[in-house]
């Protein structure tokens, strides 16, 4: 305690030094006088009395110095001196300060922004009690990489066999879509299926009503659901009497038992409207292999993740033996819940983080260069300091104080800029980016910014500081003496420039590859003509369209004939609208986001192999109305399109796309081949292939088209497995218009909506916008990498400009001599260009090597472009070379204007 008091006082003693010094002076003076008085009384002369007193004291100044050292903290005080001096230096050269602070601020802003994004998803604690005990559990194939989802059967087995978890619950990994009807309207809603215990596990409370009970997970005539806070406010205006109200979801009746508190958003999408319970009982075969869920569990207190993992490894082995059909080669993977939910974002965020680190490094190299140039003009100052006895350590410390102060100022400005940076990130981020709104500054972000500021200050300050401290006073103090260490300094600067060019190239190559990808995605044809086509979605709902009563016995739902009638009416009404050229239907518009059923259907080829490429033949499948290909202008390659004569009672036919024809009938004519879908074995009929159409990209426009086949919506079985029910009741309408499609929005919407008030119509937009929207992610990455690369390029250009300018200045004497001896200005320019060329070529060479290491990091974002794409690499290199040469040329020109007389007279 007493020591603490001492330190506190000494710290305080470092301030108000002047008044304290005055007081000390007075004290010593008065005591000296007392001593002199005594000496006089002892009979000494006035002079002698004073002299003796002074000798006895031991020197006034030495006493004061000893006193001062005790009073304050010497390190702190010199730090104060250094800081004041550094501030003076910053103010004295505002140009340098502004350039340095701005480039640092840009670099630090980029870093802080990306770090905030990483922090929000990957570092911050999940907002649930005991969050460090929460884990996610996946299945994991022993043969392939990556994790697999979990089935309700898995949960039953795990609950029975594990010893390490307090509780295991399930949730789906993204919202299922459905329709909530009743109460004066119908809505497209996102549904999170959960086992009732999940809320208890996560400590989530209802703000209205209650949570789900375990027994409510069992099938019942009326199923209980919870509403999300957001949906409750949006749809029901926060109606406090919502509890107990009933609605319809498809054919089932649901009743609201509670509203969850705001902010609960386990999946981070912000899209959940309704929480519906799923049952986890029984471990029947189909319940085991139907894997579509994520398991969330809480470790028992004191159990470590590793213990849980090894314990579950044993469970996995046991299950493998017990259920060879569904669990062969299946391991179990336990990971922190945060990683299970958001770990995948690492492959987006870490490459971006590397990119911004590069930008900051380039900024560092730049400022180090500027400081080195300044160091020569400060040579004299350093010389005087060391001549007066400053140690090398002391000199380095003072220089580092300057650079760290500079970096901190840059950090503060950068932090301020980051508020906009984060906003820009959130705005640019694709809609599905998880918890974008949670990206905020917190103490960890501030700490990070402080740490990198200080670190950058040391990084860019160390080399100049060490170099400056080597200056020998004898040399720097000689009037007009040429600085012998100038050569070394020049070499250091050159190294920095080479590094800058190399780093900039790596960034430019990455950004270039991304841009290349994006341009390809943008310009590559999706396989249809999106211009002039309007689209909307509708989802039929109610007992008119679906009968689920046979589900219990047969495992199938019945799609009612009313669906086909409705579709026909929609087509008739829309086609009759003025301005409409034609209209058609498809289950899901290609490249739209909501397609929820599995990617493909399995089928058998009559007289063909049972397996192709090691798996049962399968391909994407869409039910369409016959005009679909004409509306979308998908070309017919062979045979015929489906037409109105293809009905339920005529032979069932399909058309396949080129990719499918190529994959399954590589050397044969696919026309006339017969396939049979596996979906509804007793009702499906063999279908003859009557046509081949052009490829269409089914998902993100970036991906290569996959095999797909189409059949008329009239030639569909009445039964459907429940996993495809959503697809049977959901339709995308496409309308080719004679005018600007948006002008028809209201007409088309009303034409559909008037047919059935209970079936919601939504997603009305142009097909062109759907296609554009599907590229948000590529655009996002490209914009970020692109802006980082531009900053890097600018900084590198400034760096090379600075070095050549300085070189011109330093060599003006030599240039003067050359010119005086008859050298041409062209030759002088060549000389300077050569220097720039050597530096940038070296940088390029190293950058190319670096890019080889770096580009695989972003390979997953590239489509249609190889990481080692020669065109991109060459273009970027030539571009960078051009910029550096330009940056050399400008100061190089100045060298040719050196007046030999002036240059020589400088001596």
């Amino acid at each position: 305690m007493r020591q603490l008091r001492v330190w506190f006082l000494r710290m305080a003693g470092s301030f108000h030094k002047e008044s304290r010094d005055r007081e000390l002076g007075q004290e010593i003076e008065s005591n000296l006088q007392l001593h002199i008085d005594d000496n006089l009384r002892a009979g000494m002369g006035r002079e002698e009395a004073r002299r003796q007193a002074l000798i006895k004291l031991g020197g006034i100044e030495a006493t004061k110095e000893a006193y001062r050292e005790r009073r304050g903290i010497p390190l702190l005080e010199t730090l104060g001196q250094d800081l004041r001096y550094a501030l003076r230096m910053m103010v004295k050269s505002p140009g340098f300060t502004v350039v340095a602070v701005l480039s640092l601020a840009l670099g630090i802003c980029a870093n802080t922004t990306i770090f905030s994004a990483i922090n929000a998803l990957l570092f911050r604690r999940l907002p649930y009690p005991d969050s460090d005990r929460l884990v996610g559990i996946w299945n994991q194939s022993r043969k392939e990489r990556g994790t697999q989802l979990v089935s309700t059967g898995d949960l039953v087995n795990w609950r029975k066999q594990n010893t390490v978890f307090d509780q295991i619950e399930l949730s789906n990994t993204f919202e299922a879509k459905n329709v909530l009807a009743g109460g004066g309207g119908s809505d497209r809603v996102g549904i999170q299926y959960v086992t009732p215990g999940l809320f208890r596990l996560l400590g989530v409370q209802p703000i209205l009503g209650r949570l789900l009970l375990d027994e409510e997970a069992r099938p019942a005539t009326v199923s209980s659901v919870l509403l999300s806070y957001g949906y409750w406010r949006r749809r029901f205006g926060g109606d406090p009497h919502i509890l107990g109200k009933t609605f319809f979801m498809d054919v089932s009746t649901v009743t609201v038992v509670g509203v969850l508190s705001p902010g609960f958003d386990l999946l981070g999408t912000g899209d959940t409207d309704i929480y519906q319970p799923i049952s986890a009982e029984g471990a029947a075969a189909y319940q085991l292999s139907d894997r579509w869920l994520l398991a969330v569990a809480k470790l028992k207190p004191g159990i470590k993740l590793e213990q849980a993992q090894s314990s579950m490894d044993v469970v996995a082995r046991r299950l493998e033996q017990a259920y060879p059909d569904s669990n062969k080669d299946l391991g179990i993977r336990v990971m922190p819940l945060r990683d299970a939910l958001f770990g995948w974002t690492r492959q987006v965020l870490y490459p971006l983080f590397a990119a911004v680190a590069f930008v900051l490094l380039i900024a560092c190299a730049n400022i180090a260069n500027l400081m080195l140039s300044r160091a020569s003009s400060r040579g004299k100052e350093v010389g005087i300091r060391s001549a007066l006895g400053a140690s090398r350590f002391r000199l380095v410390r003072q220089m580092l104080t300057e650079s760290v102060l500079l970096a901190l100022v840059g950090g503060i400005v950068g932090l301020a800029l980051s508020f906009w940076g984060i906003q820009a990130f959130v705005t640019l981020a694709p809609q599905w980016y998880p918890q974008a709104r949670e990206i905020t500054m917190d103490s960890r972000v501030l700490g990070f910014t402080l740490a990198i500021s200080i670190l950058t200050g040391i990084i860019f300050g160390l080399a100049p500081a060490l170099r400056a401290s080597q200056i020998k006073p004898t040399e720097s103090l000689k009037e007009g003496g040429r600085n012998s260490s100038a050569g070394g300094r020049h070499r250091a600067r050159s190294i920095f420039v080479v590094a800058e060019v190399a780093l900039a190239l790596v960034l430019l190559v990455s950004a270039g590859l991304m841009m290349n990808t994006f341009l390809r995605v943008l310009h590559s044809s999706p396989g249809f003509r999106s211009n002039g086509v309007l689209t909307l979605e509708f989802r039929l709902t109610g007992t008119k369209y679906l009968d689920v009563s046979p589900m219990e016995k047969t495992g199938f739902d019945i799609v009612m004939p009313q669906v086909d009638i409705f579709c026909r009416q929609v087509l008739e009404r829309v086609k009759a609208l003025p301005g409409v050229e034609s209209a058609a239907l498809i289950d899901w518009l290609p490249m739209s986001e909501d397609r929820t059923d599995g990617p493909s259907r399995e089928f058998a080829i009559a007289g063909g192999p049972a397996a192709v490429g090691g798996e049962k033949p399968n391909a994407f499948y869409s039910a369409i109305s016959p005009d679909y290909f004409r509306v979308m202008q998908i070309p017919l390659m062979k045979g015929r399109y489906p037409n109105d004569q293809d009905t339920y009672s005529t032979p069932w036919v399909v058309v396949v796309n080129e990719a499918m024809a190529h994959k399954f009938w590589p050397n044969q004519d696919p026309i006339g081949q017969v396939i049979t879908l596996d979906t509804v074995p007793d009702e499906e009929r063999p279908r003859e292939i009557v046509g081949v159409v052009g490829n269409v990209k089914q998902f993100v426009s970036a991906m290569d088209p996959r095999p797909e086949f189409y059949a008329s919506y009239l030639q569909q079985p009445k039964k459907t497995p429940s996993s495809f029910t959503e697809t049977r009741l959901h339709k995308s309408l496409v309308v080719r218009t004679r005018f600007e499609p948006k002008s028809l929005i209201d007409g088309v919407r009303n034409a559909v909506a008037e047919l059935d008030k209970d079936s919601p119509v939504f997603g009305i937009t142009t097909v062109r916008d759907v296609v554009l929207h599907s590229t948000t992610f590529e655009r996002f990455i490209m914009q970020l990498l692109g802006s980082f690369a531009v900053v890097a390029l600018l900084l590198a250009a400034i760096g090379i400009y600075g070095v050549i300018s300085y070189s011109v200045l330093e060599r003006s004497h030599e240039i003067g001599v050359r010119m005086a001896l008859g050298g041409q200005s062209r030759q002088v320019l060549q000389l300077m260009l050569k220097e720039g060329l050597i530096l940038s070529s070296l940088g390029l060479a190293i950058g190319v090597a670096g890019s080889f290491a770096a580009t695989p990091l972003i390979a997953t974002f590239l489509y249609g472009v190889k990481p080692y794409d020669l065109v991109t690499w060459s273009l970027v290199s030539v571009f960078l070379m051009g910029v550096t040469l330009l940056a050399t040329y400008i100061p190089g020109r100045r060298a040719t204007r050196v007046d030999p007389m002036v240059a020589l007279r400088c001596e």
Binding site: V6, L24, L34
Partner: protein
Amino acid sequence: MGNKTDVWQGTLALMVLKTLETMGALHGYGIARRIEQTSGGQLSLNYGTVYPALLKLEQEGYIASEWGLSENNRKAKYYRLTPAGRKQVEREAQDWEQTTAIMARFLSPAKELL
């Protein structure tokens, strides 16, 4: 300086405290002089060295200071013991006595044995 002894590090603080305990409030010069006198002229002391020592004791809270007038009407800074300082004198003195007693046994063990 002949055979006079310099003041050892660490003992000066105790001497200052002890001096203040016996003399009451005193200024720096007086303290230095008193220490020399008490030692019977055996100690040689640069009067300047008492100031850092006084400052340290003040920082530690064992002494307090205020400006006052000397007997011959000169303004001077007077130091006096605080209650914590009084306890500290006792503690330090005890420690010191113990140390010297132990050292004494080492230096003349024969006496003890005989």
